[in-house]
């Protein structure tokens, strides 16, 4: 893609103050968001739409949890691991959360090195992010396996409201799918960085558009969003 970032920032007419100014800024010539490329704008709007999906999932879960007349299983007991003879509550989730948040850190560093056009470091950091993401999904698979062997099913569980299992598998499954898709795209973009596609302006295989280092940042937006969603799932599902 040709440069879609801002090239001319001068020539700004004085804008009216207050609400009129806000309206005038939004309505301004050619682009509503100056300095925002098409790809980045598209990702932000997609994330807004995706927020509504996760919002609806979480609200439905809360409705189910509030309205059920059967007791809700206690998360700190259900999600405890027996390590060295003692039950440690939420230990696996704590590690998973730590891993995912760390991957946000490596992703941010990758974006930074991307803009410095440091091919090697960017690719390595992206692959590291992908590895952390894959670790998260792996631990989630472990958690699912543990709960399934303990008798949790989407339609019921030994401890209380049937909706516990339904919500758990649905919400963590939907989030896990997001992480998995993220890992796949991280690897694809990392490969492009490694090969130098963004330096020589090679055209995309499907889109026939030239990629830019900004793609790393757009990938990062998605990744940070998936992390942020996890924080809400963690708070509302495991800590409540």
């Amino acid at each position: 893609m040709a440069e879609t970032t801002m090239t001319h920032t001068s020539q700004m007419e004085p804008r009216p103050a207050g609400w009129r100014g806000i309206a005038a800024d939004w309505a301004s010539d050619q682009r509503a968001f100056k300095n925002v490329s098409w790809g980045k704008a598209m990702m932000w709007i997609f994330l807004l739409s995706d927020t509504f999906i996760f919002g609806c999932f979480l609200l439905s879960y809360m409705t189910a949890r509030i309205s059920t007349r059967v007791p809700w299983p206690n998360p700190s007991e259900v999600f405890a691991l027996r390590i060295g003879g003692s039950e440690i509550p939420l230990i696996l989730i704590a590690i998973m959360t730590f891993v995912l948040i760390s991957s946000s850190g490596t992703m941010a560093m990758a974006v930074n090195f991307g803009y410095r056009r440091d091919r090697r470091k960017t690719a390595i950091l992206m692959l590291l992010t992908a590895a952390l993401g894959a670790t998260f999904v792996g631990m989630q698979a472990f958690e699912w396996t543990k709960l399934i062997t303990e008798g949790v099913r989407p339609w019921g569980n030994p401890w209380g409201a049937a909706q516990f299992g339904s919500c758990f598998f649905m919400i963590t499954g939907f989030h896990g799918t997001h992480v998995t898709i993220g890992v796949i795209f991280l690897i694809i973009v990392a490969r492009k960085v490694w090969r130098g596609d963004f330096d020589i302006g090679r055209s995309g295989f499907f889109t026939s558009r030239r990629g830019r280092y900004e793609n790393v940042e757009i990938m990062g937006l998605y990744w940070h969003f998936v992390d942020l969603v996890w924080v809400f799932i963690f708070a509302f599902f495991y800590l409540w």
């Binding site: 309505a27 490329s37 609806c56 049937a162």
Partner: protein, 589 residues
């Protein structure tokens, strides 16, 4: 005009030219095309094809209602399946897809002065996923047990129980899967439409110079991106209820003496999710119609739209308000009286921006140079029909009036007038208006007039009597009413009359389809700008526009889209890309 950019003050281009994928073969030119115009035609053709299926289904329903007991093959189960598929296809697979996927794809890039959508490849995928959704939907007709008969609202628990057609067969699974696919496909297209309008406009095209068509489609797309998630979630959860036996929406329930495995779910939760999507959906269909009809009226009355700024803000206000009215579809489901009060209030507030729009259309016509072309006829018919349908909305928006009318034919009459007939009239008008740009030829006028009058008058003859039936208390969604005491002789005659009219109006649509196909080769040559309109799509160097839309140089916009009959100007219209100030006319608003 106040809103005219002097020729020497044109800002430099903020975004450089982008490369377009130029097709190398017949396949990439006409089938897997990344050109928004080809995608638009593909969307429109698919939507029309599936819409014809829904039209036939409505005939079958009317056969049963008008002449009960005459047609053995229309069993009660089949009748419910016809109702369900007719509603779902018309609302989602026809209206939404045609307005946003069809008109959106064709008009947005041309009207904002862009070469194409911002991400043509994703745009192409959008169509193919939509086609897949349609195919999955169609496949349910051939699945064991047939399509779902749960009503277009798919309310649980009945939607996934044995007594409902398709409930324990494939029908409901295919329906939900198809909806999920549709939402995925729509999201890909919708992101394109929004970003193209926000970030891909040509020089001089500020948001406040956009034609109202683009404003309508843009706002509807934003709403769809925020409303479809609720339907997506509802579909996923019901699919889990049906396929895995979870109990999101299924309470403890006894079916034919058997206690089902489900326990503790909330059917009302589904209703909330569904209508959080369902009510904005009404305006997702209506707002593009509002926008298009504004442009039709302005062009064919040779007068600037009255109160442009107010029209834009009314569109935005309607879009925002439509997210806080959803529970007015659930008055009979039972809710706290304060909630009923809240939702009735917000519902009635929507009448304010809507009335502003109607007044502005009428004031645009006021002392205009009205040309009674076919697009104009349809636009006028829309105003009348929309007011009619809107007025019955005031009845149904109030809790105490709604409760007795709920689930009667009055409701059927209301929503068919306001979101069935009215937007379809705009679609017809828009097709007559833009067909010359798409094909280079005019549609036949005589056939068009015939099509208009039969459709317009016929629609009233179909739906007006339904109000009366509804006030009598005739319920909707009943396969057979012959034995009911409220079903008097006259009501029965009325039903037969409605059915006959439905066939006549349906026949007129065949004439329209013939016109569409015949005129591609035999229509009168249109030239580049047959309506002498101002907007950019009429200023393209080729008709139909070539790939890339505008030749070597993108147009530069100097004025708003409504400079008709400007005093002092040579012609009675000044295209948006013509520089120069003329004698000042009146303020736009």
């Amino acid at each position: 005009m106040v809103d005219v950019t002097p020729a020497d003050a044109v800002p430099p281009a903020e975004v450089g030219e982008v490369e377009l994928y130029h097709p190398h073969s017949w396949w990439t030119k006409y089938v897997f095309s990344q050109d928004a115009k080809v995608i638009a035609v593909q969307y429109s053709a698919t939507a029309t094809a599936i819409g014809l299926v829904a039209l036939v289904l409505s005939w079958l329903m009317r056969l049963q209602l008008g002449f009960p007991g005459t047609f053995d093959f229309i069993t009660p189960e089949a009748y419910y399946q016809f109702i369900t598929m007719h509603g779902m296809i018309m609302v989602i697979y026809l209206l939404t897809a045609l307005f946003l996927g069809g008109f959106g794809n064709y008009l947005i890039p041309l009207m904002v002065g862009a070469r194409d959508m911002v991400f043509p490849y994703v745009n192409m995928l959008s169509y193919w996923v939509y086609l897949l959704a349609v195919l999955v939907l169609v496949s349910s007709f051939f699945a064991p047990g047939g399509p779902t008969g749960a009503g277009w609202t798919l309310y649980p628990p009945q939607a996934i129980m044995t007594g409902t057609p398709g409930g324990q067969d494939w029908g409901i699974i295919l329906m939900l899967s198809s909806l999920i696919l549709f939402i995925i496909g729509f999201t890909m297209g919708g992101l394109n439409y929004v970003v193209t309008v926000l970030q891909g406009r040509t020089r001089g095209m500020t948001l406040m110079r956009l034609p109202l068509t683009v404003w309508g489609i843009f706002t509807a797309t934003v709403m769809a991106l925020l409303a479809f998630p609720a339907l997506f979630v509802a579909c996923v959860m019901m699919l889990l209820d049906r396929a895995l036996g979870t109990s999101f929406f299924m309470p403890a329930i006894v079916e034919m003496g058997q206690q089902l495995q489900h326990n503790g779910g909330s059917p009302i939760l589904f209703q909330h999710l569904f209508w959080f999507f369902g009510h904005p959906e009404v305006y997702i269909v209506a707002l593009p119609a509002f926008g298009i009809v504004s442009d039709l009226i302005s062009t064919h009355a040779r007068k600037n739209i009255f109160g442009y700024r107010m029209m834009v803000w009314a569109i935005i206000a309607i879009g925002a308000l439509s997210f806080v009215v959803w529970a007015h579809h659930m008055y009979v489901s039972g809710m706290h009286p304060y909630f009923g009060f809240f939702f009735a209030t917000t519902t009635l507030i929507i009448a304010v921006p809507t009335a502003i729009k109607v007044y502005n259309w009428v004031l645009t016509l006021w002392r205009g140079d009205i040309h009674l072309t076919i697009p104009m006829l349809f636009a006028l018919a829309f105003i009348v029909t929309f007011v009619n349908g809107g007025l019955t909305g005031l009845f149904l928006g109030n809790v105490v009036v709604d409760v007795p009318l709920s689930d009667t034919m009055f409701v059927v009459a209301h929503f068919h007038m306001v979101m069935g007939v009215a937007p379809i009239l705009v679609i017809f008008g828009a097709i007559y208006h833009w067909y010359p740009k798409v094909t280079g030829r005019m549609l036949d006028e005589t056939l068009g007039k015939f099509h208009f009058w039969v459709t317009f008058l016929g629609a009233y003859l179909i739906f007006f009597p339904m109000h009366y039936l509804g006030l009598m208390g005739i319920p909707r969604r009943y396969a057979e009413l012959t034995d009911m005491t409220i079903m008097t002789e006259s009501a029965h005659h009325l039903n037969s009359f409605i059915s006959i009219m439905a066939f006549i109006v349906g026949f007129a649509q065949m004439v329209f389809l013939f016109n569409l196909i015949w005129s591609i080769r035999h229509g009168r040559e249109a030239g580049g700008n047959p309506w002498r309109a101002t907007t950019l799509e009429w200023q393209t160097p080729q008709t139909p526009p070539a790939h890339g839309n505008f030749g070597k140089e993108l147009p530069i916009v100097y004025r708003w889209a409504y400079d008709y009959s400007v005093p002092g100007a040579k012609e009675d219209f000044i295209p948006q890309n013509v520089p120069g100030d003329f004698a000042p006319s009146k303020e736009p608003s």
